[in-house]
Every structure is written in C-alpha cells, then in structure tokens.
Symmetry: C2
Subunit: 385 residues, 2 copies
C-alpha cells in the first residue's frame, strides 16, 4: 500500500423525505443562490420541496446550467454572486449542476484576471463560497468530492480542477427524486459510476486487498442494481443502492494507497469537447480500448476483476474481462463504438495533440502519450475502421 | 436501506514516516498537551519522533493513561488543561489513550458538576478541545470516529459516549509503529476490529448489498492479514492492511443505512468492568454466545456470512458460521470460554441487572433484556457449566 492522505468532510443526508432538512443544514441568515439545470426539478417536484423547505429564507435562483457545464454560463452566476453578495450556494440537480456550482464558488473570490485559469493553469483557490447540494441524479460522485469539470465553448475545452475549498458542506440524496429520470440519464449514471471505480482499480496489484474488495463491492452492486433500476424506475431499494454506490465510487476512499489510471476520462473529455457526446457515453467507448491497448500492463488486475466480478476463472481472463465489460455496457443500452456515433478518425491526431500539450503522460505508468492516445482511439471502433 | 446521515471529517495521514507531518497538522501557536499511556512509545521510538517533529512548540505531557482509561486518571489531565490553558490535545498511543483524550477534551469545557455525567447521563457537550492523534495500535477505530469508552474505579463501570465535538482533527497511522507491539495487543486488535464489523453486519438483511460487501471486504482482509502479522510482526504490507481495516471497521461507513447490534460490546464492557478482561478478550467470548442465543433471528445473515467469508455453502450454515468464527479467534491465540479465565456464574445476575438498569433492551430487535443477558452469559462457558 502506498502512503496516502484521506479527508472528506462532506455530510451525507441520505433517504426518503430528507429535502425537508435543508432549513437546518443551511446556516440562518445566509443569502442563498440556488443553482439548477434545465428545469426537470420543476417537473418532478424537487423545486417545490426545496422552495418549501427554505420558505422565508433569502434565496435567489440561477437556472440553465447545462450538462457539461459551460464556463460562459457559469460566469453569469459568478456576476450575480458578486453583485448580490450571495454567501451560500445550493446546487439542486445532478453532477453537472454541482460541478458548475463548485466553479462558481471558487470563481466568486478569484483574484486573478480570468477564473478560467483555475482550470487551465491550476491557479490557486484561497477561498470559495460554501456549497450545499440536493442531488437528483446519481452518477458523478461530485456530491462527496472536491472535483469539478467545466467546458468552454470558445476553445472547445473540457477541463477539471480539484480543491478542498469546494467540498460541499452537505449533500442530500433522496432516491425518490431519481424515479422520474430519463432512461438515458439513469443508464449514463450506472456506466459513469462503474467507470469511476475501474479508473481507480484496474491498474496493477499494490497489495491493497481491502481497497480492491471495496472497489469490487461497488462494481458487483452496480451490475445487480443497474439493470433493476432500468427495468423498474420506481424501485426505491434499487435506486437507493445505486445512489450510494455512485457516491462511494468517487469519494476518494477506494483510491487510498493505490495507483490510479484516468486515461479513459481524459480521452473521453476530448470526445465530449469535440463531438458533444455525453460523458458516460465516452467512457463506455474508450475504456475497453484502453484495456485492449494496455492488456499486458493490466493483465493481473484484469484477471482478478474477471474472476471476482464476472466469475471467469479460466482461459483468457483479461480478454474475457474486456468482453464482459463491453457486454455489460451494451446490456444497459449503450453504444460501445465510435462508429455508432458516426465518428471517424479525422480528429484523432488533434485529440492526441491536445492531451499531450497539457503535460505529463497518462496512465498508472505514465506511458500513454500522443502516439498511444491515437492508437487507443483507433481501438474505439471509428467509422471505416 | 434505512435513511442515514454520514459525516466524518477526520483527516487520515497514512503510511511510513508520516509522524514528521505533525508540525504542519497542528496549527502554529497552540499549547499542546501530549497524552500517552504506559510508556511503550519511549521504547519504540515514537516518543522521540513526536518530540522531534514538534521541536520548538509549546508542549506539555501527560502519561500513564491506562488500557480501559480510568476517569480518575483522566480528571488529572483535565485539571492540567484548565490550569495550563492547553488548547490542543495530541494523543500518542492506542485506542485507550485516544478514548481517554476524547473524554479530557470534552471534560475540559464541561460546565456541569461532574464530567462523569457525560458518560452516565448523556450530558450535552457544547465544546471540546481540538484533538490530534498518532495511532500506534490498530484496533478500536477511535482514530476515525467520535466514540469514547471510559471506566470508573469507584463504581466499577465502563461506559461510552459519542459526540461530533471529539472527532480527531487528524490521525496519523504509520504501520511501522506497530512492528514492536506485544503479540497480545496485535491479537486483540485483530479480534476487536473483526468484532466491530460483525456488530454492524450480523443482524438481519436490510437490502443494503454494498454495505454488506464492504463489511465482508474488511472481514476477509482481517482473516488474511491477521495471521500474517502474528507470524511476521515486521511485515509492513500486512501491518498496513491490518491498520486500514481496523480504521474502516468503525468509522461509521459500514453502519450507514443498516441495523446494528452492539449486544456483544455491552456485555463485554461489564466483563471488563467487573473482571478486568481486555476489551477484545470479552468480545471473543461473548459474540459466539450472542449468536447461539439469537440463531433464529440472525439466521439469514449468519448464512450469508458463512458463505461469503468462510466459503460454507451448505449444511447448517448458521452453526458453521459460529463455529468458524470461534476457530478463527482461537487460531489467533485467544480464549473463547469464560472458564478459561476462571470466571463462573456468580455475578451473571448482577451484570444482567446493571445492563437492564441503563435503559432500553439490547440487540437489533431490542429483544435482549436482563433475562436474555443472563442466558447469553451462560452460553459463554463459565466455570462449572
């Protein structure tokens, strides 16, 4: 096991009817800016529940945060925070709304020229607005971590930042709010959480048996509960198990003391930035290709994963691990080839170049540079391949 | 899954050579009281490492905190905190030192007549001294929770309290500090952590597959790493895996949304209070007896545990689960019968009475009162049974 530091101060409030606790979770006297997305919370009753819980409290609203939240949109909220002296942000929605809210929180106090530097230049964050969250879509894990991913139209970039200042103070997870999610978002959520676990697990053995088993625990639960939820969207128990799995998939715990490989996410971000694919859609296409490319380097963990998650005990375990994972994604109703999205190899060179330009090589061995990124993209089944 | 709240703000600093980080973990300008136990830290080098890391900082010392920390001793430290205006407590040692330090932290600001009321009367804690921890013995999980257990000579009582004010701000876990632990403490630590998991797991199914698997992950890891550590006390990897398992066994995570049963601990505390047995020694004797008594009520989880942890797939799975657990404890070198400690049934009535007096019945079904406690104690193999 490697040395590590783990610190996660987020308070999770989990279960049926918990949105009513908002009034006691947000300190009295705060001027709240409630952030949300495209308005689904107005259809599913969450908006009304929040409004009711915060009746009588000073509350502004900022709607319209997109999936893959856009810098251009978020800067409008930053302006409101400054002009209206907002001192608490309440994110109501999925991971995109929360990621966007984390950026707003940090940008509101940013002292440099352009808050985009937080993402592009790793500019320091000394202070951020406090954040609370009502999560309506289990997927990204943003509700219990300090990560945020933001996109910028003008440069077609999708970049991440991490800072302890943007941990939510609390996150409310009421699985009933997930009942009315569109099937596509539910599916994406299962795939996203599944991929998060694998980015922290599928590397090389580091003599960390507890972390391995914790990761496998989440994977196994997702393989069971994901299909249940797609079949019965109002199955509370399955929704609850899925929600808790998605949170623990990326709250830092299974990453303690082990190597990680975020290659799939990094390449996926480029596909979203250039082609607008959903985040989870990119992961499902890229991850099997990364494994095919790195099959030797990842052989031992692929075999362990094949055995413990898929029950494959003999033969080409690594190959079976890749095949079973693709089949699982397909069983959720997801496409696993770029050709299915009509994407060819035209911009592979550009993507490899963009990733290489951002610094160190990818992968648990820092062995994936421009050349390897392009090779991996060719394994993603582009049009005409 | 039941509704739950989870909030654990402890920062864990884990690994080789991490004690040197103390200087940056304790805010500058603090007057530190370093608490410790019987002095083993002076033999194994930990005392010197702490002293060196805090060179030049205002630091007082309070040694002599016992295993099962005594109220009478701790109140001397409370006096020092008040008279010397201590504003940071640094616990250096195992779970007993830390439990004692948590009590000191809360008692220092206690406004009532007698801080024992924190334990005996659940008196409120509005403020506590901040706590840091250097953990030298993996066992209790106190390093990442808000629990504390304290004993009092004059009344022969051993009582617990829980309060978010006494979460350590940080806990340093350097597995190398465990290399020189006496075999008895290592053994007790494995058994203690194992029992902690089971108190949160071995109840009835609550449709919480992730929590179940997380619990099983810790149990399986303990069954593998415990024996390794006893055989090779300087096996760093095994020490590290054991340490992390013990922390996660009682940091609140596996308890999220599931029923719990702390009967074994409650009866065990009485055995420690009246007979002076080590905490872990009591758990090992009492837990199999609780399960024998509650075999019907716990049948489903006993069967799941038998299958997933011990690989028992048929026959009397519940009975096998109990037998295999006892064998595991015995394989660690522990006694599993009261008779082996020379204890008879003379004070069973008194123990049942003391527990019943403290309020609600024990167990996940609140079905264990005085009568049942005595029946369970009779199943613990007293002298002459």
């Amino acid at each position: 096991m490697n040395n590590f530091t783990y610190h996660n101060p987020v308070q999770i409030v989990f279960g049926k009817g918990t949105i009513g606790q908002l009034a006691s979770l947000i300190p009295a006297g705060k001027k709240i800016l409630m952030t949300y997305g495209g308005g689904s919370i107005k259809q599913n009753g969450v908006y009304d529940q929040v409004k009711q819980a915060l009746a009588g409290r000073a509350r502004l609203e900022f709607g319209g945060i997109e999936p893959n939240p856009r810098y251009e949109t978020l800067m409008k909220a930053v302006k409101i925070c400054r002009s209206e002296k907002v001192d608490f942000l309440l994110s109501v929605g999925g991971g995109s709304v929360l990621d966007g809210t984390k950026f707003i929180a940090a940008a509101a106090f940013f002292e440099g020229n352009d808050p985009w530097d937080i993402l592009a230049k790793n500019a320091p964050i000394n202070k951020a607005l406090p954040i609370g969250c009502v999560l309506t879509l289990p997927a990204t894990g943003s509700e219990m971590n300090m990560f945020s991913v933001v996109s910028r139209d003008s440069t077609q970039e999708k970049l991440a930042f991490a800072n302890p200042q943007v941990f939510p103070q609390f996150s409310i997870l009421d699985p009933e709010t997930n009942f009315t999610l569109p099937e596509r978002q539910t599916r994406n959520g299962v795939a996203d959480a599944f991929a998060h676990v694998l980015e922290q697990y599928l590397t090389y053995p580091a003599n960390a048996p507890l972390q391995d088993r914790q990761a496998e625990a989440i994977l196994l639960t997702l393989t069971e509960e994901g299909p249940k939820v797609l079949k019965q969207p109002r199955d509370y128990a399955a929704r609850a198990n899925l929600a808790w799995s998605a949170t623990l998939a990326l709250n830092g715990l299974i990453a303690c003391g082990v190597p990680q490989d975020w290659t799939t996410h990094m390449i996926g971000h480029e596909l979203t930035a250039l082609y607008g694919l959903d985040h989870a859609q990119t992961l499902v296409v890229v991850m099997p290709a990364v494994w095919k490319h790195q099959k030797q380097a990842k052989a031992q963990k692929l075999a362990q994963y094949a055995e413990r998650v898929w029950g494959v005990t003999g033969g080409d375990q690594a190959g079976q691990a890749i095949a079973r994972t693709e089949q699982f994604f397909q069983s959720l109703g997801m496409k696993t080839r770029l050709s299915e999205y009509g994407i060819g190899s035209e911009r592979f060179e550009e993507m490899g170049e963009r990733l290489a330009r951002r610094g160190s090589k990818l992968g648990e061995h820092q062995a994936i540079g421009k050349k390897e990124v392009i090779e991996i993209l060719r394994l993603c089944g582009p049009l005409g391949a």
